[in-house]
């Protein structure tokens, strides 16, 4: 990941701040930084979103294609995540530099979405055993300012909220199945993604833990707990990352915090998305994308 050089004194400063629940930018331990979300930013996609979490900037485009279902899931569609670490974010990502980070993020997303209650894949089925929608969720990291996992999951959820799939009519004529895909931009189906998870990363700094760690704070942490949390507070994926180990009791504390934060994060996101949709075409665009 992007390297920030911190001296020991700076690390101690951050550590002591976290102990007193006051972080280097004045936040408490369970506060997120300023978050901007914008949906339908790309016209060539079925759904798109851009998330800016302080300095982290992420662009997600969802494209739906028709394909054949995999043999073990014949009545379901598929969702696939691809993360692209753009060299714009940091020169270290040039060439294959960002590949490890990209697979880490896409695997985590895949695991978090891999349960039937959080994202119903049956809604992507067109003809059982034969045709289904495959959702390609492409994630582009434009700027890295810490906490990539959380920001990515928020952007993915927002993009899925924004996704609409053209209506397909299936006609059977003398045993020949015919697919007719509507080209009317308003004849579309929205996805049911209300219960899809958000990822919450908890970084252990000293004896406490923080959510939404900035790049500097990420330097001071040896172990992170990454968890997928749904709006109901259930945990869909769990992962420890980093070279440090954790005490079982502190894992419990971190999970408790993660669940609490995740629940409200999901709620805030859905509220914001509903608000944006209510504004319709009158909304002002925030970012550099026009």
């Amino acid at each position: 990941m992007v390297d920030v050089q911190l001296s020991d004194a700076e690390k101690v400063f951050i550590l002591h701040g976290v102990q007193d629940n006051c972080r280097e930018d004045g936040r408490g331990c369970e506060d997120y930084r300023h978050l901007e979300i914008e949906t339908s930013v790309m016209s060539n996609t079925n759904g798109s979103a851009r998330v800016r979490l302080a300095n982290t900037d992420i662009l997600v485009g969802v494209k739906a294609e028709l394909g054949t279902p995999s043999p073990e899931k014949l009545n379901k569609g598929r969702i696939e995540f691809f993360v692209d670490c753009s060299a714009n974010a940091t020169p270290e990502f040039e060439g294959r530099g960002g590949e490890d980070l990209a697979t880490d993020i896409s695997n985590m997303l895949y695991r978090a979405y891999d349960c039937p209650n959080c994202f119903d894949l049956q809604q992507l089925c067109v003809i059982p055993d034969q045709q289904c929608w495959i959702l390609y969720v492409d994630i582009l990291l434009l700027e890295c300012g810490g906490n990539l996992f959380d920001a990515t999951s928020l952007a993915v959820k927002a993009a899925l909220f924004n996704t609409s799939i053209p209506t397909v009519t299936v006609t059977k004529d003398e045993g020949v199945v015919d697919l007719e895909i509507s080209d009317d931009p308003y004849d579309v189906q929205r996805l049911d993604m209300k219960s899809s998870p958000c990822i919450v990363t908890l970084s252990k700094v000293g004896h406490s833990h923080v959510v939404d760690a900035s790049q500097k704070e990420e330097c001071c942490t040896l172990a992170r707990l990454i968890m997928g949390v749904t709006e109901k507070g259930t945990i869909t994926a769990l992962k420890k990352e980093g070279s440090g180990s954790l005490d079982p009791t502190s894992i419990e504390d971190m999970m408790e915090t993660g669940r609490r934060v995740g629940e409200s994060l999901n709620k805030c996101l859905m509220d914001a998305l509903a608000e944006e949709e209510r504004q319709g075409t009158k909304k002002k665009s925030l970012g550099f994308l026009r």
Partner: protein
């Protein structure tokens, strides 16, 4: 692993016949009485042996009934990429299912699941290894699952930590892996393949699995992963059970290392000296 264009991979469009077999009702398997007669909290019998690959610096082989995993540790050697200079050592982990090890055939190249497993394995082992003891050098850990009958990651964690110790790499503690399957209010330790959580059979809430890497003498968790949608209280219970079960594995690991032919930590140190000597001249 690079693509080998010369390898004959067979026809592209083949499908395993198992995909078309009518599935037995999954929930039948998940009762308090397990099909191999174990109680929910019992592990399968374990066979663990160190020093199985003669040319590796250290190696180990583990059998949990029908789950068979072997691991070899090579190194220390020069770090491949020159820019990766660090005063800490680097561990490189490769987790691979043998192509014939699972119900479905695996490909020669690492798929995304195996890559994910490699990362999880690395996360599990890194906290246990004294990384500062081999600066500028790299240690390679290769794990191959020969036969998969469930809990392969847990077995791989245990096996790899024994192989590292067998190689004489300085460690703070061993790591014991344990996994559980959560099915409503039932928690099954060390699930077999038929008991394992699979996302394709529509599981309701509180169905999933948890794998834990535990350092038994430090009482620390070095890795934790979960699959499936689980409530907080249930996952907490599962983690505790995993920790306690891993603790019972510790004597097995110790005994295995005592029985291995070379239990000298000298072996690694000597090779480290030799490595740094070579680099200097």
């Amino acid at each position: 692993m690079p693509t080998d264009s010369r390898r004959l991979t067979g026809p592209e469009e083949t499908k395993s016949p198992y995909a078309y077999v009518k599935q037995k009702k999954k929930l039948q398997v998940l009762t308090g009485k397990r099909h191999d007669g174990r109680s929910p909290e019992t592990l399968r019998p374990i066979f663990l042996k160190a020093d199985v690959v003669s040319q590796a610096r250290g190696s180990a082989y583990i059998e949990q009934d029908n789950t068979k995993v072997m691991c070899a540790v090579y190194g220390p050697r020069e770090v491949g990429r020159k820019e990766d200079f660090s005063m800490k050592g680097i561990i490189n982990c490769v987790f691979k299912y043998a192509t014939f090890s699972c119900r479905y055939r695996r490909s020669y190249q690492q798929d995304s699941e195996e890559k994910d497993m490699s990362v999880q394995l690395l996360d599990a082992l890194e906290p246990a290894v004294c990384m500062h003891k081999f600066p500028k050098a790299q240690v390679d850990i290769y794990v191959t699952v020969l036969q998969n009958d469930g809990s392969a990651l847990a077995a791989a964690i245990t096996c790899a930590s024994v192989a590292l110790a067998n190689a004489g790499v300085d460690m703070y503690d061993l790591v014991a892996g344990c996994s559980v399957r959560i099915a409503d209010n039932l928690v099954l330790v060390d699930p077999t393949e038929s008991e394992e959580y699979k996302s394709q059979d529509d599981n309701p809430v509180n169905h999933g699995s948890v794998t834990l890497g535990y350092m038994p003498s430090l009482y620390q968790v070095s890795a934790i992963t979960s699959k499936g949608e689980i409530e907080f209280e249930v996952i907490k219970k599962a983690i505790n059970l995993c920790g306690n079960t891993s603790q019972t594995l510790y004597p097995v690991l110790q005994k295995c290392l005592n029985n291995s032919r070379f239990s000298l930590s000298l072996r690694f140190s000597l090779s480290l000296v030799r490595y740094h000597f070579c680099v200097q001249f």
